[in-house]
């Protein structure tokens, strides 16, 4: 090898292993500019500039949630979310929160079935601080015995309070177990007291070391940023964090998601207003049917002029409260409805009225004006996600983590807006069948 070729080879290797080279994968033109990059250690970075206000939002998300927990460790993902604020190598316990508070910033974290998100919004001149904090806890979280035990105990207290204060919680757990007959998908994110007690420091460390790695994470930064400067900062703080050699694949659903009709009664003495939960298993969120089901969600539930609100609450006064809509759990989705009534008699009438509204949608085309209305409402809610740095960052992160190709974001909204009334009838007949899941909620 001559000297010149050796120099080139060494310099190439240097840049590769110190992560000073990124591949710009794609750039979206609509609905707002964004770009996607990846570091050599596998960290995905999404950037989007918005100069309306001098703010920046940083979302650091990991592709792990409660569905990744094994039997006996329910609550692990949520426990780790809490432990992420308890200190890392260079940041003391709770100091992450204090650093953000001192500069007037806001932060939050959320664990769901398949992802855990940490996000903070600060004045844009404080971006280096947030990246320093996030990279430190990705790189070197402190997981000491006393901290883990203390956090477990706090979560067990929270769990006990939830059971005590919410008379409808048990019915929700029953409902989820019927709707999603697989432990990974149906256990509560907060976990169970028994499992939380049995989780050890070693278990938590293993979980952290397996999933909290750059090649299992996405970092999204939006707001008043300079793209090149931001990328340099990201390289500085994240490129030398080791990737995981082996991130286990995402769990797949092991039950039967197309079962027969199931009905059950859940009794809790503290319930004073009876009600019911009704669920329909629907298509995967990646299916084309999903766009039409999203419009049906708006047709039934969105706003005071929505079909079910108008019928059950305003016109017939059969429901004290009601709500519902589509719920996504990784690659599965269900349509859930919750109704509370004054008494057993009105509850039964409410149920009949609800089924009659569903049946009406199976047979009759919805009027054009109503279709335009739900499309406008959907469009409005969808675009609401673009106009603050935090909403935009969460929107981009969630879209990326949903397994969609982020380039598809350009035409995403149109897929919802081009549906027609006939398609609604077809989908209603396909998914809103007799094979529902129903849980009645009663007091004594």
């Amino acid at each position: 090898m001559n000297l010149k070729r050796l120099v080139i080879f060494c310099l190439m290797v240097h840049f590769v292993y110190t992560g000073f080279s990124q591949v710009k994968q794609t750039e979206g033109q609509e609905p707002f500019p964004f770009s996607v990059h990846s570091l050599k250690n596998g960290l995905t970075v999404i950037l989007s500039r918005d100069d309306n206000l001098p703010l920046v939002t940083v979302v650091c998300a990991y592709k792990v949630g409660s569905a990744y927990e094994k039997k006996g460790e329910a609550g692990m993902a949520h426990l780790l979310e809490n432990l992420m604020f308890m200190g890392s190598r260079n940041v003391g316990p709770m100091q992450h929160i204090r650093f953000i508070h001192r500069i007037g910033g806001e932060f939050n974290a959320v664990t769901s079935w398949d992802r855990t998100l940490y996000y903070q919004t600060v004045s844009s001149n404080q971006l280096p601080l947030v990246l320093w904090l996030e990279s430190d806890r990705m790189n070197s979280l402190n997981l000491e015995y006393s901290t883990v035990e203390e956090t477990k105990n706090l979560l067990i207290e929270t769990l006990k309070n939830q059971n005590k204060e919410d008379p409808f919680r048990e019915s929700m757990l029953v409902f989820d177990r019927l709707l999603y007959p697989d432990f990974a998908y149906n256990h509560p994110i907060i976990g169970s007291e028994e499992d939380l007690k049995s989780i050890t420091v070693k278990d938590v460390r293993n979980f952290y070391n397996t999933y909290y790695k750059p090649n299992n994470a996405v970092l999204c930064i939006t707001g008043n940023i300079d793209e090149e400067d931001t990328l340099n900062l990201v390289r500085k703080y994240f490129s030398t964090i080791d990737p995981s050699k082996n991130v286990p694949p995402a769990p797949s659903f092991k039950g039967d998601f197309t079962q027969e009709k199931q009905e059950q009664i859940s009794i809790n003495e503290a319930i004073t207003t009876p009600g019911f939960r009704l669920g329909y298993r629907i298509c995967s969120p990646y299916s084309n049917d999903f766009y039409i089901l999203s419009m049906i969600d708006y047709l039934l539930f969105s706003g005071e002029s929505s079909r079910l609100y108008k019928r059950l609450v305003k016109r017939n006064k059969l429901a004290l409260s009601m709500g519902g809509g589509i719920e996504k759990r990784r690659d599965l989705a269900a349509f859930k409805i919750f109704v509370l009534s004054n008494n057993e008699a009105t509850k039964e009438i409410a149920k009949k009225a609800l089924f009659s509204e569903i049946n009406r949608l199976k047979s009759y085309l919805i009027p054009d004006r109503e279709l335009i209305k739900i499309k406008n409402m959907y469009k409005s809610d969808y675009m609401e996600n673009f106009y603050s740095p935090e909403k935009r960052a969460l929107f981009l992160t969630q879209y990326y983590l949903s397994g969609n190709d982020i380039r598809d974001l350009r035409g995403e909204l149109n897929k919802y807006l081009r549906i027609n009334s006939s398609e609604i009838i077809g989908i209603m007949n396909r998914y809103f069948t007799e094979n529902h899941v129903l849980v009645e909620m009663r007091g004594k």
Binding site: V13, T18, I97, E304, S380
Partner: protein, 492 residues
């Protein structure tokens, strides 16, 4: 004898070394130097608000436009410059009742049809009434500005206040008040009632017994008198231009009839001459809620920013003095915060805390001690700078959503605060120093607080015996009796 290494060989060695270091870097346990300490911030960016452009229609309606591009929504706020303080003395709540009724029907349009029309344009609607004004907010998709303003014009010029909706709105208002068991809201009601006793702002809070006296006839009188274009402001924010707004508003709101508007001057409330402690019973309350309030003068000068910094230091966030003292150090409280509100003729500084009932008396003492200490002494510079840093960082977050932004602008317009808020917000905060805060509170003595305690009587009564005198109210705000401290004679 060693021979010197040839330059080519040196180069090779350096490159090999670089190669090895590069390969090892990610795997060595020693951390990079930059990880050890937090990085310094970049220079503070500018906070630039888009300009507020205004014009007046021939009927006297002042229209203000803020252009924000690109934005697919339009936020429309109609501000009626009369609030609860001008409700008749025997009918507090009439301003709220009128505001709640406005979108409940117009000639040829039922309440449901109005709701449907707003949802059809991808919009939503809300109404709020304050002591000095009411604001009606409509958000819609950009393409429907004309429809939204047309609907607004139709409602304002043809409102018919259907009798069935009068009953529905009264029922909703009644249950919202009667079923309210939120200790903070109950406490706030009583705080307002006592702080603004015999002042028009007292009408901002009213109890459920008033609702049955509200009627359509009084509503129509109030509507005719105050819902007139020359007593209103219209604010439109979004991706619009002035000429488009001029055309649309002229077309749909130009017919709104101008009338003579009476001007009312409301004096600031008289300062309290002695502290007052009040208790209201909330059976079954787990812990005790505490509210402490002082009236501040309305200040259109730089003192406002001194108040903000002061508030930040004492209780504006999770790292302020109150929470550090009462929760972290002494363990008396679950939380303790403070806030500043501005009204047309005065302001309100208040502290709110949830305390462990057994520590009620020492909690009050500590809060008053903190307030006294901050107003009587110069605040250390590091605390001032810390508070300013928080305020500068947090203000843009508070207005980062388009609705939050437009609501802030509507408050600024309604309370005539454009000069202090719109221009140089950051600079105004930066100029505050220890002396400025000290000086501001030399003029405003926080000496005579109104203290409101909300809790379960069976538990709390034992703990309020420490106070010299406590006035007991029921949870509708009706005075019951006074409780005085028993001074035991020493028989020896």
């Amino acid at each position: 004898m060693k021979t010197p290494m040839r330059p080519g060989k040196i180069c090779v060695c350096v490159l090999l070394g670089l190669f090895i270091i590069s390969f090892m870097t990610p795997y060595v346990s020693a951390q990079e130097k930059f990880r050890k300490t937090p990085p310094l911030p970049y220079p503070l960016p500018d906070l630039n608000f888009p300009s507020l452009e205004s014009f007046i229609l021939s009927n006297g309606l002042q229209v203000s436009v803020v252009q924000r591009k690109p934005q697919p929504f339009i936020d429309i706020h109609l501000i009626i410059l009369t609030g609860e303080s001008l409700s008749p003395d025997d009918l507090p709540g009439l301003a709220s009742f009128t505001a709640n009724m406005l979108f409940k029907g117009a000639v040829g349009l039922s309440a449901s049809q109005i709701e449907e029309q707003i949802e059809y344009i991808g919009g939503d609607f809300s109404v709020s009434t304050y002591p000095d004004y009411s604001v009606f907010s409509i958000t819609c998709l950009k393409d429907y500005l004309n429809d939204a303003v047309k609907l607004l014009g139709q409602i304002l010029t043809q409102a018919d206040f259907p009798k069935i909706e009068v009953n529905n709105v009264k029922r909703d208002m009644f249950y919202n008040i009667a079923r309210n068991t939120n200790p903070e809201l109950l406490g706030r009601k009583l705080l307002f009632q006592i702080l603004f006793h015999n002042h028009p702002y007292q009408k901002y809070v009213f109890n459920s017994s008033v609702i049955k006296r509200l009627n359509r006839k009084d509503l129509l009188t109030f509507f005719d008198k105050f819902y007139i274009p020359n007593n209103a402001r219209l604010l439109i924010i979004g991706d619009v231009d002035l000429s488009e707004v001029t055309n649309i508003t002229g077309k749909h709101l130009g017919q709104w009839e101008k009338k003579n508007v009476e001007t009312y001057h409301i004096n600031p409330p008289a300062p309290k001459t002695k502290p007052k402690i009040c208790f209201t019973d909330l059976p079954g309350a787990d812990e005790t809620t505490l509210l402490i309030g002082y009236v501040l003068p309305r200040d259109k000068t730089g003192n406002y920013f001194s108040y903000l910094v002061f508030n930040q230091i004492i209780g504006g966030s999770h790292i302020s003095r109150l929470i550090m003292n009462l929760r972290e150090t002494k363990g008396y409280a679950y939380w303790a915060f403070s806030g500043i509100e501005l009204f047309g003729n005065c302001g309100l500084f208040s502290v709110k805390a949830k305390v462990k009932t057994e520590y009620l008396y020492p909690s009050v003492k500590e809060i008053l001690k903190e307030i006294r200490s901050l107003t009587m002494n110069k605040i250390p510079n590091h605390e001032i700078e810390q508070a300013k840093s928080y305020l500068i960082g947090n203000f843009p977050i508070q207005i980062s959503g388009h609705k939050e932004f437009s609501l802030k602008v509507s408050e600024i317009v309604a309370l005539d605060m454009e000069d202090i808020f719109w221009k140089n917000y950051y600079e105004n905060i930066m100029y505050v120093n220890s002396s400025a805060v000290f000086k501001a509170f030399q003029n405003v003595r926080l000496l005579n607080p109104v203290i409101v305690i909300v809790g379960d009587k069976d538990v709390v009564l034992d703990h309020i015996k420490e106070f010299e005198e406590v006035e007991i109210y029921d949870n509708e705000g009706i005075f019951q009796y006074k409780l005085k401290k028993v001074i035991e004679n020493d028989s020896t």
